[in-house]
């Protein structure tokens, strides 16, 4: 019998099955961390630094201690003995990377506004909050460092012991022959040289973080409930940081209200609740306010990108050179330094580039909230740079930007394609996705309309923006992670357990927080085992129930965790086959497994359903000699490769040149994520991803003033768009199965975000090209667009331009500046 590695029947896979997660979430029955009732819990509140950079001179806690309900007040100095190790950074990207020791409470010095200084425990949240106002901290303020190029200059060094603000420089240079890159630029028919800024973003999961630590004072065990994406990683790291034997730590992620990377971390408040609950021998809980969330939860992006492209006379790329300056924030969180590296392989986009690629990233500390993974994590940044630069190249070459992309796409027949980096791209059909996207918006007709609409003097200008991308997900082959100095691997674990009554439990190491794993995993198992999804329960997000796993981030859950489940099903089938063969008195090789039953080839009456085998496995009355009872198999699956979802997005905008307002008229996204387990969920992931990318392009930015104060600390100032502010989305899909796993899946969580921001900005710039605008920085607010128009030189073909304003201060030129010194 051949049951291993076979693609499953697809009775359920591919169906738009409604989510089993929904009824609890729709009725208020779901329990988020703040919903847990824990008798006797004390409430933690933190006094946070109002300064970006200051020495702590004195802390007076006397008034707070005297308040009713206040149980204890701890400073960083008090708690120094509670930590066995500093807060973890799992990704020392270079051997000489600088990483300042970082503890849950600051001791001598604060390094960003929001840094924790004092921990208060009280009998109610209200009492704890009142006590915050009663703590008097004297600070000696130091200069803030909020500009990356200023940080690089080391005029103010943030971490004294390091002697510099530079954390590391990491390079990836590949050329077929020495000097190939320089030669390519020297002989290029066309070059472009661009500088883009990836503004800081705030992830803004709708559920802020929340933590409950429940100790067992006389046994030493401790259970941590946390709104986290990574219960497994958190368990290991908490054990190390607190010096608790790992087997005594249990981490549970209850219902989690979104993460987007922000809950892929080990946070001070998790460690504080654990340490203080052990010290005080009572449960301790903490709930993050939104204003705390914007400062104490990681930010994303924060890069200055210099990208240079060289191309031949037809516009075909011959070399790519990239220099990044990346903002680490005040400290290195769990994977902070690795984020720019996740993009390092994507600055050549989906294009057939000869081995002429030169990438270097320098990362610096600033006095702002630490950065870390935010939806896409390095890949949206890279895609933005190459896709914006491709549009700039199209202008240079003088051809349509879609045509330029077509000329450069990796050809479908070239797959599997070994890239300049040595990585193998699994499968792709870029032209098909682009063609489909173009058809969805009516690309040619739009270009025609644009020619008649964007005439001299027009104040409502049409723009069309294209973006083609790879997602690069399925994080990650452990050997590749090793080469990038990541401390852990990238495998995922799964156990499939057939119960005596033929119901199935699936134990997964993924930890969903909106992705619908319970539904999707049950569909995979149902097809593999020939049973109903209703007979499958999916267990997850509790390290006592699912002890092995590496959690959910980086669009990895399906291509790694989902594939692991399919493989565990294969093992179950193989074991069941032995029992069936024994019972049916046949050879395993003569059995066929279909529709949930084994049948002897050629003897359809000689059959045994999985349900009967399950009970035989349980009763163990009559098993083959030497076979263990029970029908339960586990797999730890390490993917052989990244998976490479791809696609093309096209955005159509009108820009009101009088006000700078942008209206998105159409948005089409064609994403190819390989085989779709549940298209309903795939569509939702793309929709949400697109709007997060569009929000970066048009709305969102974490803005700091020169003193290092976050000016966008609430949802009133940080502009997460509402339904009224964003367009409907037209979706299309192509399906190019991945050959690297039995399900043919690739992953989809970040594709929308990766594709969207460059599509939107390309459209905006395209609309304004006739006015001489070459770039509009993100977020393209009306004010920013208006300033870009004012600052642009009138294009020779459209000298009449548009009367955009009358103020004399036309200094706000925001178009491309040449790279600064030190850049290429």
């Amino acid at each position: 019998m051949t049951v291993t590695e076979s693609a499953p029947a697809t009775e359920f896979i591919g169906q738009r099955m409604l989510r089993r997660e929904d009824p609890a979430l729709l009725t208020g029955e779901a329990r988020f961390t703040n919903d847990l009732v824990v008798p006797g819990a004390l409430h933690l509140a933190l006094v946070r630094s109002p300064y970006a950079h200051a020495r702590i001179v004195h802390i007076d806690t006397s008034a707070a201690v005297a308040l009713p309900g206040v149980v204890a007040v701890h400073t960083g100095a008090d708690l120094a003995a509670a930590w066995a190790a500093p807060m973890p950074c799992a990704w020392p990207v270079t051997d000489d990377m600088k990483n300042p020791a970082h503890f849950p409470l600051a001791v001598d010095k604060v390094c960003y506004a929001g840094d924790g200084v004092v921990a208060i425990l009280a009998t109610s949240e209200t009492a704890a909050r009142d006590a915050v106002d009663a703590i008097d901290v004297t600070y000696d303020p130091l200069p803030a460092v909020i500009d990356l190029e200023d940080a690089l200059a080391d005029r103010v060094v943030i971490h004294d012991a390091l002697g510099t603000n530079t954390s590391y420089t990491w390079a990836l240079k590949v050329e077929g022959a020495p000097g190939q890159i320089d030669a390519a630029f020297e002989s290029a028919a066309f070059t472009v040289r661009e500088r883009y800024v990836q503004q800081r973003l705030i992830p803004m999961a709708m559920e802020t973080r929340a933590v409950v630590a429940v100790p067992q004072p006389f046994g030493g065990d401790i259970t941590l409930y946390s709104s986290t994406q990574v219960p497994h990683i958190l368990k290991i790291m908490a054990a190390i940081t607190l010096g608790i034997p790992e087997h005594q730590v249990r981490v549970v992620a209850p219902a989690v209200g979104g993460g987007f990377g922000s809950k892929l971390n080990v946070y001070a408040e998790e460690l504080l609740c654990m340490a203080l609950s052990r010290q005080h021998k009572v449960p301790v809980r903490w709930s993050e306010s939104r204003t705390e969330n914007t400062q104490a939860t990681i930010h994303g992006r924060g890069q200055i990108q210099h990208i240079e492209l060289a191309a031949d006379a037809d516009g075909r790329l011959t070399a790519v050179r990239v220099r990044l300056l990346a903002d680490m924030g005040a400290y290195l969180q769990l994977v902070t330094p690795g984020i720019p590296l996740l993009g390092a392989f994507l600055y050549a986009g989906v294009y057939d580039l000869p081995a002429a690629y030169d990438f270097e990233c320098t990362s610096v500390f600033t006095t702002m909230t630490p950065t870390d993974a935010y939806r896409g994590a390095g890949r949206p940044e890279a895609t933005y740079a190459i896709e914006r630069a491709m549009d700039a190249l199209a202008v240079e070459v003088g051809i349509d930007p879609l045509e330029l992309r077509r000329r450069n796409f990796i050809a479908t027949e070239a797959y599997p394609y070994t890239a300049w980096s040595g990585l193998t791209y699994d499968s792709g059909d870029h032209d098909a996705a682009a063609t489909k996207a173009a058809a969805l918006v009516g690309y040619e007709a739009l270009r025609e309309r644009q020619r008649t609409q964007n005439i001299a003097g027009a104040t409502t200008r049409l723009g069309i923006g294209v973006s083609s991308y790879f997602e690069m997900c399925g994080l990650a082959p452990s050997r590749v992670l090793a080469s990038l100095n990541y401390t852990a691997g990238g495998w995922e674990a799964a156990t499939v357990r057939v119960l005596p009554t033929a119901k199935v439990q699936v134990v997964t190491g993924t930890s969903p927080h909106g992705q619908g794993h319970e539904t999707a995993w049950s569909m995979i198992v149902a097809d593999k085992l020939g049973i109903s999804p209703d007979d499958v329960d999916v267990l997850h997000s509790d390290t006592a129930i699912a002890p092995l796993g590496l959690d959910t981030y980086g669009s990895r859950s399906l291509p790694v965790g989902g594939v692991a489940i399919a493989m565990a099903c294969d093992k179950v089938i193989a074991k069941a086959a032995q029992i069936a063969a024994h019972q049916l008195e046949a050879s395993v090789d003569d059995l066929e497994f279909a529709h949930g039953a084994f049948t002897v080839t050629g003897s359809p009456e000689s059959t045994m359903p999985l349900a009967a085998i399950a009970f035989e496995a349980f009763s163990a009355h009559n098993l083959p000699e030497g076979l263990e009872p029970n029908l339960e198999c586990g797999v730890s699956y390490d993917p052989p490769n990244f998976s490479w979802p791809f696609g093309t997005h096209i955005c159509v905008v009108e820009v009101d040149t009088e006000t700078g307002a942008i209206e998105v008229l159409q948005y089409a996204a064609v994403d190819d994520c390989g085989v779709q387990i549940n298209p309903l969920i795939v569509d939702g992931q793309v929709h949400g991803g697109v709007i997060q990318g569009l929000a970066q392009a048009l709305f969102e930015e974490a803005v700091y003033d020169s003193d290092g104060n976050l000016k966008t600390s609430t949802l009133a100032e940080y502009l997460v768009p509402a339904a009224s502010d964003v367009p409907p989305i037209t979706l299309g899909h192509t399906v190019t199965p991945s050959p690297t796993n039995q399900l043919g899946v690739k992953g989809v969580g970040e594709a929308g975000t990766i594709g969207a921001a460059p599509a939107v900005i390309n459209a905006v710039v395209d609309a304004l090209a006739g006015l001489g605008v070459r770039d509009v920085p993100m977020p393209a607010s009306p004010n920013t667009v208006w300033s870009a128009i004012l600052g642009a030189a009138p294009a020779p073909t459209d000298t009449a331009g548009t009367d955009v304003g009358d103020h004399p201060d036309a200094t706000a030129r925001t178009t491309v500046a040449p790279p600064e010194g030190g850049a290429p």
């Binding site: 009142d130 700078g660 609430t714 100032e717 509402a722 607010s781 004010n783 201060d809």
Partner: protein, 274 residues
């Protein structure tokens, strides 16, 4: 998210409310819908020691035709202003402006009186009532007085309303068929305007007021004067920012606001017709 502690008293009449606020001094605040005050209190940016809840004074919630004007009780909710048939007929500009305040949930709780008394230059209704030449009625310990909208706004979040005075009624002249427009420009629909323009025109008369173009709502008298003298819309709109002193913030520079005020005023006047 948790306000500082305060004492709470509930008034059963306007007289009682005024007495209570008088008793408690300047640390006391009226609480109507609470949608201006409570957000500040949750962030502890406001910490009144006493709140006098006037939310149950249902006799201050009404919209009445009073002949030459419409009388609106101060506790009338934005939602009710938005959906009033009387206002739709006689003061459609105000009904429309109310539909642009905040979001539906805010409009279900927030009141016109609360919004005006808060005197936020970025709010829609202070400027709109200013453009319409409204009169506000205030009741204090010594009786009631009328305050022209033009005399009401003193500075950022401050008005000529005394601490112990309660805004009870907003009187808005009927528009008598005037053309009108409310141009609200923002990045998210739920937000305050970056710049807003409320305008009406009828024969040679007009009223134009600006949202978020200074420390108070701004009556653009030079626009109306220019129109009265026969200037083109384009030329009149060029005067829009002449009396403004716009702020600079995350969403807009002074220059951009100045420019927007002119563009939006032009568009408002064009939409209002002659």
């Amino acid at each position: 998210m948790i306000p500082a502690a305060f004492d709470y008293v509930r008034a059963t009449s306007a007289d009682e409310a005024i007495n209570l606020i008088g008793e408690h001094g300047d640390e006391a605040k009226f609480l109507a819908g609470g949608h201006s005050l409570l957000p500040l209190m949750k962030l502890r940016l406001a910490q009144p020691s006493v709140l006098v809840d006037i939310g149950r004074l249902s006799d201050l919630s009404y919209i009445r035709d009073a002949g030459d004007h419409i009388a609106i009780g101060a506790l009338t909710r934005h939602h009710d202003v938005e959906h009033s048939d009387v206002l739709a007929e006689h003061v459609p500009l105000l009904a429309h402006a109310a539909s642009q305040v905040g979001d539906p949930q805010v409009r279900h709780r927030g009141t016109i009186g609360g919004s005006i008394a808060h005197a936020d230059p970025a709010s829609d209704l202070p400027a709109t009532t200013l453009a319409l030449g409204a009169t506000y009625v205030a009741q204090g310990p010594h009786g009631t007085r009328e305050i022209a909208a033009l005399d009401f706004y003193e500075g950022f979040l401050t008005s000529t309303l005394a601490d112990d005075e309660l805004l009870t009624e907003i009187r808005v002249p009927k528009m008598q068929g005037a053309g009108w427009s409310f141009q609200k420009f923002n990045r998210r629909a739920q937000d305050w305007a970056i710049v807003g323009v409320a305008a009406w025109r009828r024969n040679g008369d007009s009223g134009v007021a600006l949202v978020n173009m200074g420390s108070t709502p701004i009556l653009a008298t030079r626009v109306s004067a220019a129109l009265a003298q026969g200037a083109s819309i384009e030329d009149a709109a060029a005067e829009a920012a002449a009396e403004a002193d716009p702020p600079s913030d995350l969403n807009a520079s002074v220059e951009y606001r100045t420019h927007l005020a002119k563009v939006l005023t032009r568009r408002a006047l064009e939409a209002a017709g002659t």
